[in-house]
Each structure stands twice: as structure tokens, then as C-alpha cells.
Symmetry: C2
Subunit: 315 residues, 2 copies
């Protein structure tokens, strides 16, 4: 059997036909046109699904289910996308019912962080592992936990929100209402803030030169780029960021002891430059210091994670 | 079928015959005599098992397994108690092999925090719940996670160490090597330290009177007792302690979303006096604010938790 996976984003809708092992047989995408009524968007999405199946030379009878991964708050029990902050008109959208007007297949919803974790578990960095946690460093800190091939969501499917572990009592206010959440320190957003602050305090640093003294151009790569060229301020920012990241990852390992811990998102593209000092700190301070230890690695699925993870929801 | 549960402690060894539902049919105990060679202790333990079965009017054929709950680091795979800090001569003790010299039954080992969590899940405060986390506030902060009736231990069985979630970056040094672990702030030990400090800074407080100005007599009840009698310093200690406890519990709920969160250990005997302000803070700040919410309650199994949990390891 095959599975359809849909990565429903604010810019594009990507659809793929995926096999049992998580390989994409064929994929295609269209612009979301997010300001349109949701009915129009869902219709386009359904038509793209039918096109992908046809272009792959398959029939709808070969497809077991359609999985949709989205940001925000999908409620799979009710089949509703409760809210998606990057989709203008998506508030309490009956996504399942609307899709089933065009496609008579089971429609499964989940959020993008869970889909990314599932994709890494089925076909990526955590393939073959009995348990994995995938941490995605982006605007926030996303997280997904896969135990024995299944997404762990807690009894009300609100877990895991690892980004909202307070690691600094009375720290900076977080959007969730608490103070000192890990997300504020370890997300790409946090890294950018830390880089900007260091650049302001050290106007002669290479960070400033790399962005032609326009601090609004600082991104999650800037401090790493400066550090690699020997800049002291850049290195200090990177060291401190890795410390923040490590403290949270040690927490996660002490809590879950996953076989594999996968780090995704833009920052993970730094590869070994990020992983080497991170692993050193984590293995030094993790509670359980014997072998076997949790393997720490970067995500492998890249942009396909959304499609593959959504497809594997039906497996 | 019945199950034997052994609570192997530094002072006493308690043995119980337990039914499928986690009810104790018959129990007995003997002093551990912890300074003796382990061979002698294990022999006494095995004899007590046989006595309990006989006194209950049952036969060894009615018993499916023998579970042993202990502090420290039991390794069930190898059948070895790697280390138990409150048992003098227990370093790499081949507990299973030694027991099987006397009793030809499966011998299962696990640590006391997991046994307490399993007991609450089978027959206590989390009975009937699909998932639960039990937090035990004692010398440290113990934790056990039960998912669908099974103990969750991670791939290397080192999880969960919730007490060793850093919640205060660069806080007080912890025995685990990190700084600012939850355990240092939320354990009974932490509460006692906080109470002593407040008593020193406020010599006129009721706390001092309650212990006749001998601060070494302060225990985990003292601040609560003072607060209940209207003492300002006592109330401040209690409020701050509940804040520390709540911050960690919100972390745990954000991570696991368990159906029930059980609080055990001496501090939990404060009951609603502890639970009411704790729940208020937790439900206000937990990430997922919709219904259904994790139920927060105190442990019900008391001193029997060790026996029942150890017995249910074989279920």
C-alpha cells in the first residue's frame, strides 16, 4: 500500500505519495494562497492529491490514507484544524470533512513537529531506533517523541512541549505566560537575539562586518560564520548558545532516555561544528553516565520531513 | 495467580503476597540487618517469601513471580543490584541468581520510584488512568512514568530522572554534577533547607518556637505547621516551596501530559493544603489550557506502595 502525505504550510502545499518504508514515490506542490477562503484551499489540495496519485501511475485504491501535517493545533479526534497561525482563514476548519468531499479515504491530522519526528523515525536519523525525540530549532523549539514507532502525545494529545520547560526560574517572559522557557534561549529566534545583543556590545566584532553593520540582517548563521573565522565575540555567542541548548537536551535525555535524539531546523545545518561541543557537554553532565548512551545527531529528512511524516501517520 | 512483592529497604525487608488487582493478601517483614554479607540477607529474604506464601495458605505454584523493589540501581536485564546506597554490602549483588538458589520463580528487579509509580497506577491514585507520572518528594525527587500499565524507562532504562531537570540555570550545585536541578528546590531536603534559612533570618518566627530554637529539629512539616498557625515566615516558606514544586510539575505536564500526576512522599501528607495552591498555579501556567487537564492528586498507597509495585512488576 501507499500513503499520501500533505505538508500544509503558509507558503506552499506539498503533497507526496509515499511507500511503507517512507520513500517518496512522487511529489508535487502548489502555492497555498493563504488569504483565500479555506474551502478553495482545501479543494486545490484535494485536486493535487488526485494529480500526484495519477502522475505516479497509481490508483486511489492503492492508497491507504491521507495524512495532513500542519502548524498550529490540529485536532485529529474531531478532524478539525483548530488554529494555524500562518494560515489566515484557518480557524476551526473542518479539514477532514472538507477533504472527504473530494477524496473517500481516511484523513489523519497532526502537527508539523510530530510529523518531523515521525519522518526521522521511519526513514531518517532515528531509523530503526526503538525510541527517539526530535527537537526542531526554529522560530520556537518544536518537539516530537516517537515510542515504538508511534507518536507520543499524552492523554489529551497536548504533549510534548519541550520548548516550554522552564530552565531559568524567573527568566525572560515567554509567550506561554511563564518565565525562562528553554525555547526563548535555544530557538533560532533566541540565537538571533543573543547575536544581536553581542554585536551591539562589541561593535568591532566580525558579526557587525558580516551584516554591513545592519543588525536586522543577523540570522541564525551569523554568529557561527563569525566564530568559524576566528571572531572572539562570535565564538562567545556560539559557546553560550550551545550551553543553553545542551542544558535543555540533558533535561530531555534525563526525562526520556531516547535511543536517538535528533536535532532539526536551520541551526542543525551547522552539523559537527554544533554537534561536537554539544555532545561533549551532554555526555559529561547527563545523569546516567554508563553505556549505552543516547545517540545525538542532526535531522536527515530536510524539506521532505513534512510529507513523509504526514504520510506515515496512516501506517 | 498471585505475585510476591519485596520492598528491600535499609531498615526492613517487607514481603507481601499480592493478587492481580494489587491487593495485599498477606504481608510480613523482618529487619534488614544491612551490615551482614548479602548472602545472609538474601537468604532471610527468600525464607520470608516462603513463609508469607505459607501463612497466606497458598502454595508456591500459585505464585507467578517475585518482584524486588530497591533504592539505587537495579539492573533487571542482568539480574544484578548494581548499587544501593542504603545497603552496606550491596555492590554488584547477583540478586536474581542468589534468590533462585531458594525460590524457583522469575525474579524481577526495579527501583523504588518505579515501583511506587506502578503501585499507584494499578491500585492507587492513578488507578484506571491510561498514563500517570508519580513524583516522590523525599531526600531527593523520585519519579516514575507508567504508560498503558507499563513502566517507562527509556531505551537504557535510565529514565525518568525528573529530579534532575535543571530549572534554574547556574543554580545550586547538585550531586549529579549539574547546577540548579529541580530536586534541590522541591525535595523534602530542599524544603528543610529553605525552612532553616528562613528561621535564621527571622528569629522571631513561629518556626523557631516550634523546634525550641533548635534548627536541627526542623523537618518537612515545620514550615507548614507554622503557616497553618498564621506565621508569616512559615507562609512565605510554604508559598515559595509550592512555587518551586509547581514550576517542575508544569514542566512534567508540558512534557508528558499524563492523565494523572501523583505526588508522594512525606510532604504529600499536607493534602489539600498543598494541593489547592499547587493546582491553582499549575492550571494557570500549564501550556495546554483546554479541558481535559491532567488530574493532580496525592499518593494513596502509603507504605504498601513498595510491596504492591514490586509485585506488579510480574503482571
Amino acid at each position: 500500500m501507499y500513503y499520501i502525505g500533505i505538508d500544509l504550510g503558509g507558503t506552499n502545499i506539498a503533497v507526496g505519495l509515499v511507500d511503507e518504508e517512507g520513500h517518496i514515490i512522487h511529489k508535487d506542490s502548489i502555492p497555498t494562497g493563504k488569504h483565500r477562503p479555506y474551502q478553495d484551499i482545501v479543494k486545490d489540495m484535494a485536486m493535487l492529491v488526485l494529480k500526484v496519485i495519477k502522475d505516479a501511475g497509481k490508483d486511489i485504491k492503492d492508497v491507504k490514507s491521507v495524512g495532513i501535517g500542519s502548524p498550529g493545533t490540529p485536532d485529529n479526534e474531531k478532524g478539525i484544524l483548530v488554529y494555524a497561525n500562518n494560515l489566515t482563514n484557518f480557524v476551526n476548519v473542518p479539514l477532514r470533512a472538507e477533504m472527504q468531499k473530494y477524496i473517500d479515504l481516511p484523513i489523519i491530522l497532526d502537527n508539523d513537529a510530530n510529523c518531523a519526528a515521525l519522518a526521522e523515525s521511519v526513514a531518517g536519523a532515528a531509523k530503526g531506533a526503538s525510541s527517539s525525540v526530535t527537537i526542531t530549532l526554529g522560530t520556537g523549539v518544536g518537539s516530537g517523541v516517537i515510542l515504538n514507532g508511534k507518536i507520543y502525545g499524552g492523554f489529551n494529545y497536548s504533549a510534548p512541549e519541550m520548548g516550554h520547560i522552564v530552565i531559568e526560574l524567573d527568566g525572560e517572559p515567554c509567550t506561554c505566560g511563564r518565565k525562562g522557557c528553554w525555547e526563548a534561549l535555544a530557538s533560532a529566534t533566541g540565537l538571533i537575539e543573543q547575536t544581536k545583543k553581542a554585536a551591539q556590545q562589541n561593535p568591532d566584532s566580525l558579526i557587525n562586518k558580516l551584516v554591513n553593520n545592519d543588525l536586522s540582517k543577523i540570522d541564525a548563521k551569523t554568529a557561527f560564520d563569525a566564530a568559524k573565522q576566528g571572531d572572539k565575540t562570535g565564538q562567545e555567542v556560539v559557546d553560550k548558545y550551545i550551553y543553553y541548548l545542551a542544558e535543555g537536551i540533558i533535561n530531555v535525555i534525563n526525562i526520556f532516555a531516547p535511543e536517538v535524539l535528533v536535532i532539526g531546523g536551520g541551526v542543525s545545518k551547522e552539523g559537527e561544528y554544533l554537534l561536537k561541543p554539544l555532545r561533549e557537554r551532554v555526555y559529561k553532565y547527563v545523569y546516567f553516565k554508563e553505556e549505552p548512551q543516547t545517540k545525538i545527531t542532526t535531522a536527515k529528512m530536510g524539506n521532505d520531513a513534512g510529507i513523509v511524516g504526514a504520510a506515515m501517520l496512516g501506517r
